[in-house]
């Protein structure tokens, strides 16, 4: 009823405020790819209105922005400008695979050129700096252009209706290019790289710890959640209660759940010395692992149940008719059909756990969150970025890995 009134009012007002053009949908006839045109506009704003990098006398002060044309050498400037011009031209070109291929190659190349340019800017600024503690950090202009260039490549991949192979190739090329730039020392004057270089061994250890925490939690969640999902599928009433409880658990903020586990676990460790010998403590990895498992149970169990529910009864009946035992039916028929749904559950759980494990650093569990919270405490922005960016890249890599796996199981199914 309210919507009716609203609609009447809006219908009266809107035509006066936003006169509807006679030919809506297509906009100016010259622009043939409005997504790309928007991204180019975003990139140009990023280049002109924001600092490409920030330059600070030391790691704790915030930097002053340095514009793209002051920061990089003429050749790099020309490459970046030419790339944006090529993308602008592609947005005006008539639809076609050639246009989209060009946009893909230029977008991917621009991502690497921006990275190389930022590294070069840091090297050049370091040469002019009065002290070696000067820092060059990535600026808002860099991030905006990187965002726009990457999305231009994504848009091209979508328009090309690219399959898994081409998408994987594009990601691998950019990843390999970025690694090659880092290995060549091109990026080593960037403050992010300096933060990394200062604590390379600790970083690798914490990264490993992060991965171990997530992998351990996901493994335990599978070991418990899959039978739980199976039981829920066979007994829907019990399943409803279990899922309801797990759902409530999922809503509890991570830091609260970590905190609530400290008391009971330290009591348990004090009461049962055998557990203490196993490394069970109120703080550290134990509460982190327990909480991550608790968060992961619901998606695993629910997707197991949903996957099994998607197996048609006729298929199960046919298998029974062929004389298969219930165990054979489960492993040979139901699980393979349910596998894609189960894997998408694992994908959700893994990405979620990578993020939640950051917070676990607050209860002494280590991991990449260590750098985030250390950096926040010391007001060391680049240390925060080191931890946060590493977490984001880890989450993206896990997500892509599972997507790839999902593609494989779908294809074989």
């Amino acid at each position: 009823m309210v919507s009716h009134v609203v609609s009447r009012v809006v219908r009266r007002v809107v035509p006066h405020v936003f006169p509807v053009p006679a030919m809506p949908a297509d906009g100016p006839a010259m622009i043939r790819n409005r997504v790309l045109a928007t991204l180019v506009a975003l990139g140009v704003v990023g280049a002109l209105a924001f600092g490409f990098v920030g330059f600070a006398p030391n790691r704790l002060l915030s930097g002053r922005p340095v514009a793209l044309w002051d920061a990089v050498s003429a050749p790099v400037l020309w490459v970046v400008a030419a790339a944006w011009l090529a993308l602008a031209a592609a947005s005006l070109a008539p639809p076609g695979r050639g246009r989209d291929r060009l946009a893909l190659v230029v977008g991917l190349g621009l991502v690497l050129a921006l990275l190389a340019g930022a590294g070069e800017a840091a090297t050049r600024l370091a040469a002019t700096a009065p002290s070696p503690s000067a820092r060059t950090s990535l600026g808002a202009g860099f991030w905006l252009m990187l965002f726009a260039a990457a999305l231009a490549a994504v848009d091209a991949l979508q328009r090309l209706a690219a399959g898994m192979a081409l998408r994987a190739l594009a990601i691998l090329l950019v990843g390999a290019g970025a690694l090659a730039l880092a290995a060549s020392g091109q990026l080593s004057e960037l403050s992010l790289a300096k933060e990394y270089a200062n604590r390379r061994e600790v970083f690798l250890a914490e990264l490993l710890r992060h991965v171990a925490l997530v992998a351990g939690a996901v493994l335990v969640a599978v070991a418990v959640g899959v039978p739980l999902g199976l039981a829920a599928q066979r007994r829907p009433r019990t399943g409803g209660i279990v899922f309801g409880a797990l759902n409530l658990l999922q809503t509890i903020p991570s830091i609260a759940l970590f905190g609530l586990l400290i008391g009971p676990l330290s009591w348990l460790a004090a009461a049962v010395p055998a557990l203490q010998d196993l490394g069970v403590r109120g703080i550290g990895a134990t509460p982190a692992l327990v909480a991550l498992v608790l968060y992961s149970l619901l998606p695993v169990a629910r997707n197991t149940q949903a996957g099994l529910a998607s197996v048609s009864p006729a298929v199960v009946e046919a298998a029974r008719g062929m004389g298969l035992t219930p165990g054979q039916i489960l492993l040979g028929v139901e699980v393979p059909i349910a596998l894609p749904v189960l894997i998408s559950g694992l994908r959700i759980v893994t990405v979620q756990a990578i993020g939640l494990a950051v917070v676990a650093a607050l209860i002494g569990a280590g991991g990449l969150g260590t750098f985030v919270f250390q950096g926040l405490g010391q007001n060391a922005v680049d240390l925060v970025l080191l931890g946060a960016l590493a977490t984001i890249l880890l989450a993206l890599a896990a997500d892509l890995g599972f997507q790839f796996l999902l593609g494989l199981t779908r294809r074989s199914a």
């Binding site: 609203v6 609260a256 008391g263 607050l362 926040l376 007001n379 946060a388 997500d399």
Partner: protein
Amino acid sequence: MPAGTTDRILPTAPAEGQRRAAVLASPLVWLALALVALVLFMPATEPLFRALFPELARPVYTRASFLALAVSHIGLVAASSLAAVVAGLAAGLFVTRRAGREFLPIVQAIAAIGQTFPPVAVLAISVPLIGYGAAPTLVALTLYGVLPILGNTIAGLETVSPAAREAARGMGFPPLRRLLEVELPLAAPVIMAGIRTSVIINIGTATVGSTVGALSLGSPIIEGLSGNNTAYVVQGAVVVGLLAIVTDLLFERLERRLTPGRR
């Protein structure tokens, strides 16, 4: 999975006594009462925490009242969620209209990729850009909160059956009326599920927001963790856990009410 398939079907007009019984039996009411009581009267729990943690000199968090913490926490979440709802709905509507349809795939990609970013990482990254305090928390909560709402707005509007659209068109509804009276009501449960996800995540991220200087129910937790005062941790965790659960149950009711044919 359709929500509430196991619901009992209540008579349309339950008698007064029945209704009162239903209210009393609802866990939502009891949990909400417990939340309000803890927020208002936390200092009264001092004997309990003194007994549980005899080694602590000050077993109840007093740096700020739990009322102030809760108000600040709810304010952060409400303000950012409101902004996220406006932005997510607007963007979702734009890309599902004819004028914006070209942007649909890229916006879907942004929503999907963006949701793999850990919320805490988004919070951490906003500090270098904005500084410490409530502002980076608000920005991070809004940015991250948009994504589930945007994704579900698109999904909800895309699942409106062409037959329903066609029927509305056949009845001579202009586009705006089709949107407001047919498409949005049909998509409402899915959109509301997105808002629910977004708000619950934001309650959790606002808790961690106290590490970047925002006042929230996470403040006693963080202070308790750094000062080795488990009582503070428990107090903050119980209150924020209750807040999240009560909010989730409220949204569950709202969603059920929006689903056609279920009350």
